[in-house]
Amino acid sequence: MPRSESARRGANLRRAFLFVSFALAAATAAAQSKGDPAKGEAKAKACAACHGEAGRAPLPMTPWLNGQLEEVTVLQLVLIREGLREVPQMAGMLDKLTDPDFFDIGAYYARQAPPKASGPGDAKRRERGAALAKSMGCNSCHMGDYSGQKQVPRIANQREDYLAATLKAYRDNKRTGPDTSMNGAMYKVPDADIEALAHFLAHHNQ
């Protein structure tokens, strides 16, 4: 790469980084103003049966919602209400809820402490998962500490079983987000790699 191009790309990256920082700051501010966590707590009572008190789900394959970004929770609730993401356990539960209800619920979970890793995990699998995450550029959207941004979820220390199943669902085109980025990212990734990724992400803060 010629030096001038490299320098320009560097400048672009810095500019882009600044932009993202601003965008994040703005998004945070907007997120704070959108939902009311106190109202959200009351509205999330029905969620607790599966997702647990304060979003710490006790059930296998059920995502932890504590510390999830407000925009993420809102988006997934919209997708489930609209029938674009099918979760039979939630069928019909969201039909009467409005967008402002979702903002309140999202605001509530966003204010809970994010999950911590349940243990150190297996060092070799973590290492392989870390290398895969790097080579696949997961941090491009999920951020370097996998804490997410905007509609891109926090995946650090999410349940391992849920992470693996979700990544496989994206790979197998059984689920999409608002776009097909994750389907592209997971295209043809073998099970073993997905499981290593899930293990690494589920044991992130060790």
Binding site: L59, V74, V78, S140, K174, P178, D179, T180, Y187
Partner: protein
């Protein structure tokens, strides 16, 4: 990227569906049987997977240019900063309809009903003018990106990724059940760049694009084209080839020729290649994808000798990463004479570029043969260049019988109406 045969069938087998002890046990077993490898992938292994398309290396070139979030929730009209919109002297803008998250491509019935497709939220909206106030309902939902809408002979046509529906006589019978036409149209199941744009031509045929399902690749013979069908889905003909991702076309009011917008590839450069406005003067003409972009720029990845040989170059360049989407020729009597037979193009705005570009409606003036084209920003103010932020994303335009222009803003779920008075 996402081969979809039927989203419904796929959803039935969603892993999330199978929550519970049985699934957990099966999953644990599968994990045991496959057994995760314990060594990180070698550089060679990563390269091999990249070459097979197994990873998404492009996003790593600039991690911060990975697209903007979709707004899938209702925007109340008082949160739409209409006063920021700028138009030439004499033009005015109002909010014509609102509260429709993700609103995109528009069609109008002969009795005045307007329909609008969406992508991520899976809905088709129906809007009726009730004595100066617009009311809308959700006509269809749970569809896979029902972006395409078109109207002819009393019937509404809706196209999702690979499904086509017809609502017969819908303006007289609002509760009519749609006829599924999917089998007749035989559209490929790929999702990426295959949200449909649809319009009827002066020949009464239904024109549909089948995009290239990638950023850059050699598309299969059934991709990368604009087709036309008899309205029942028979007699398919390829009208234009070498098309990357066209999400807008219309027919010249004088010549009847098809003109279409096409989105240029990403990840080649900040300022190149630009999006295109093309004119089809011969059936089956070739427009360059994937070898030759914009006004003759060879592709950086897919190389061949004389990449631009035999390629029909565009009428106009629509700007880098601009996302030039919905377009219509203006043939109304409300706007000043200089707008007659010119093209309005909604530029939804860039994501693959550090400095935002587009986020406006442009006006393109050219001869009927596509010569001497000039691109003039017409409706602007949706972005702030200094802050490098945007608040609105025009996705489609449509002329009304009185000559006013509707503009669909996907970001705010609103349709604006632009009028002119001397």
């Amino acid at each position: 990227m996402k081969p979809t045969i039927s989203r419904l069938v796929q959803r039935v087998v969603l892993p999330v569906v199978a929550i519970g002890a049985g699934m957990t046990a099966a999953y644990a077993l599968a994990q045991q049987m496959v057994g995760p490898k314990t060594t990180p992938p070698s550089a060679k292994e990563v390269e091999q997977r990249k070459s097979k398309g197994g990873y998404y290396p492009e996003r790593m070139k600039n991690p911060n240019l990975s697209g903007h979030a979709y707004k899938m929730t209702v925007t109340p009209p008082n949160e739409i900063p209409l006063d920021r919109i700028k138009l030439p002297k004499g033009f005015k803008v109002e909010i014509w309809a609102h509260g429709m998250p993700g609103v995109r491509m528009m069609a109008r019935g002969t009795k005045g009903t307007v329909w609008a497709g969406t992508r991520a939220i899976g809905r088709v909206y129906e809007i009726k003018d009730k004595g100066g106030v617009r009311e809308h309902r959700i006509l269809a939902q749970k569809l896979n990106q029902p972006n395409g809408v078109a109207f002819q002979g009393g019937n509404l046509y809706v196209a999702a990724i690979n499904r086509v529906f017809r609502y017969d006589g819908i303006e007289d019978n609002p509760s009519v059940k749609p006829v599924e036409m999917t089998a007749a149209f035989k559209l490929p199941p790929d999702v990426h760049h295959n949200w449909k744009f649809m319009a009827f031509g002066p020949d009464s045929k239904l024109y549909i694009q089948v995009g290239s399902p990638c950023n850059i690749c050699e598309p299969s013979p059934e991709h990368g084209q604009i087709r036309r069908y008899v309205a029942d889905g028979s007699n398919m003909e390829v009208v234009a080839r070498g098309v990357r991702n066209s999400v807008g076309f219309d027919f010249h009011p004088k010549t009847g020729e098809l003109w279409f917008t096409d989105n240029g590839r990403d990840w080649q450069a900040e300022n190149s290649p630009e999006d295109e406005l093309n004119r089809v003067s011969k059936m089956g003409q070739f427009f360059g994808f994937p070898y030759c972009h914009a006004n003759g720029i060879p592709d950086m990845d897919i190389k061949k000798k004389d990449p631009c040989k035999g390629v029909t170059l565009p009428v106009a360049l629509m700007g880098p990463h601009a996302a030039a989407l919905g377009m219509r020729f203006y043939s109304g009597s409300m706007f000043p004479k200089e707008y007659q037979d010119t093209v309005f193009v909604a530029r939804r705005g860039s994501w693959n570029r550090s400095q935002l570009f587009g986020y406006d409606v442009a006006n393109v003036r050219a001869t009927p043969q596509g010569k001497n084209a000039k691109v003039i920003p017409f409706m602007t103010g949706f972005k702030d260049d200094k802050e490098n932020k945007f608040w609105g994303r025009p996705a489609d335009v449509m002329q009304m019988p009185d000559g006013s222009l509707l503009v669909a803003d996907e970001q705010n779920g609103a349709i604006y109406r632009v009028t002119y008075q001397k």
